[in-house]
């Protein structure tokens, strides 16, 4: 079974819990005392991931770190529908990769602001917030024009991709870093759509959406 080195309040770990839930994958969660224990910087954990970061998975002998990389692996290995990581469509595959990097940018800004405000990490909070707003403007613009063309997801197409999963957690948690989403109505609508995907689960700090239509 897949083993996930996990911390409940980590948005990057949540990406994987969320995605595995959507794929219907069973996994074992190994809790890491990220805060306040800093167990991810302990000797035993550094042997698993020398970068001292969460998440990490182990699967059939493979040890893999980095949330985006793990999303790629899980989609390529376990998604029989081929929708989440469209390897057969070079254009969309390129776009997915582009937005996976964008998700790293969200982590570097919105997640950093959240760590500063919630867990007292030493960060330049104004720079983090400014950077996150810059990215959110780009994302809102992109999603708004997507809506105009009838597209619900970050990468054009009928179905969501791992780009949506990679970007969602630190967007939805942004207010914990003092980054309001009030000015991003298209992002707010996209968040509702992600929450209505089959298999969606919440984490602490994320509320569920109601049903999309009458039962």
């Amino acid at each position: 079974m897949i083993k996930l080195y996990d911390y409940e309040l980590s948005g990057n770990c949540y990406k994987l819990r969320l995605f595995m839930s959507m794929l219907g994958l069973e996994y074992e969660s190994v809790p890491i005392d990220f805060y306040p224990g800093r167990e991810h910087k302990s000797d035993w954990f550094l042997r698993i991931n020398p970068l001292g970061q969460l998440p990490v998975i182990e699967d059939e002998g493979l040890v893999l770190r980095d949330a985006q990389a793990i999303l790629v692996y899980l989609a390529a290995r376990y998604d029989t529908s081929r929708q989440w990581y469209p390897v057969d469509d070079p254009r969309r595959l390129g776009e997915v990769s582009q937005w996976l990097s964008f998700a790293d940018g969200i982590t570097a800004t919105a997640s950093a602001a959240r760590l500063h405000d919630g867990l007292f990490y030493d960060r330049d909070i104004e720079a983090c917030r400014t950077g996150a707003h810059r990215l959110f403007r780009i994302l809102d613009d992109h999603l708004w024009f997507g809506e105009q063309e009838g597209c619900d997801w970050i990468v054009a197409g009928d179905r969501p991709t791992i780009a949506d999963i990679a970007c969602f957690p630190y967007v939805i948690l942004s207010e914990e870093g003092g980054i309001s989403r009030q000015d991003y109505p298209a992002i707010r609508r996209w968040c509702d759509r992600v929450k209505r995907l089959p298999g969606f689960i919440v984490m602490s700090g994320v509320f569920p959406a109601g049903p999309a239509k009458a039962a």
């Binding site: 809790p31 890491i32 224990g37 914990e176 984490m203 700090g205 509320f207």
Partner: protein, 302 residues
């Protein structure tokens, strides 16, 4: 929002406030925190003592210090795993948690978290059961079991604290031993305007209660650090499992607290709409009003 740069509320100044976690601060070095809009420095020493002082340029964060070379110190108390201080004239004693002394209990600091809310809003949420099915879904409550049954609230004059008893709420996984749900008993104490202590049925010993406390450090009127302490009967779970549970719960409360408007707790009865389930919150607001507390609240019009 008040724009005062310092706290001038005598009630808040004279309280003991938690400012640091004893086990987290490396001894012999200067650490920093904020309290009531003031920058404080503190240090713990190998002999088990601690000092807290108003930050001044001569000592910087990370500098090594010894007890003899400190600026004029603020009052200090070490209790329940935390360093407490005061910017005014604090009472001789901090409130008692007798269970802390019981030898067979696990004493844990679960986490300190920053929350963008006033201290009284954080305490009021801690006293609230009605949100369990909605905010702590499938952990502390689950629909359709949403009823808050009648409970009792008293303000003890002699101990100057609020006590809510006979509180019961349906919990879907009442204990690890049973798979079904059941009513769980709670007792809430508010012995300090910014601290609350919860007693909850112990899953391992039906005659005793687990203790979960929240000690709120007001950074300013609308921002806090919440320190969470556990003092529980549990021989099976690793520390980190117990901490994870508490962090999960608090992490669920956080976005609710950060979406309350206004952030300061309104003491005017007509600011919000109480129901019977809110007895403890009504008592708490009245108690704060009677104390004349103004910090982190919107005082009722005279």
């Amino acid at each position: 929002m008040s724009n005062a740069t310092h706290c001038s509320d005598r009630v808040a100044l004279d309280l003991w406030h938690p400012v640091a976690v004893i086990e987290e601060a490396a001894p012999g070095l200067v650490h920093a925190t904020r309290l009531l809009q003031e920058q404080l420095h503190y240090a713990l020493f190998a002999d088990g003592t601690a000092a807290v002082w108003r930050a001044e340029p001569a000592l910087r964060i990370g500098d090594p210090v010894e007890p003899g070379m400190l600026p004029p110190a603020l009052p200090v108390k070490l209790a329940y795993g935390y360093v407490w201080t005061s910017l005014g004239n604090p009472p001789a004693e901090l409130f008692a948690i007798p269970e802390w002394e019981e030898a067979d209990r696990r004493r844990l600091h679960a986490a300190t978290m920053g929350v963008k809310v006033s201290a009284p809003r954080a305490i009021e949420n801690f006293l609230d059961m009605g949100h369990f099915p909605y905010v702590h879904t499938d952990i502390l409550g689950a629909e359709p079991h949403t009823e808050v049954k009648e409970y009792d609230v008293d303000i003890s004059v002699e101990r100057d604290e609020i006590l809510a008893t006979r509180c019961r709420f349906f919990q879907p996984m009442a204990s690890t031993a049973s798979s079904g749900g059941a009513d769980v008993d709670y007792i809430y104490r508010v012995p300090h305007p910014f601290c609350s202590v919860l007693y909850k049925s112990s899953p391992v010993d039906e005659n005793r209660l687990d203790v979960i406390a929240i000690f709120v450090q007001p950074i300013d009127e609308e921002n806090v650090r919440a320190h969470m302490m556990l003092c529980v009967l549990d021989e099976d779970n690793e520390d980190k499992i117990i901490k994870r549970f508490q962090q999960t719960i608090f992490g669920q409360d956080k976005p609710i607290l950060e979406n309350q408007y206004p952030k300061r707790l309104p003491l005017d009865p007509r600011a919000e709409t109480p129901i019977r389930a809110d007895k403890s919150s009504i008592a708490y607001r009245r108690w704060l009003r009677d104390k004349g507390l103004t910090y982190g609240v919107i005082p009722a019009a005279a």
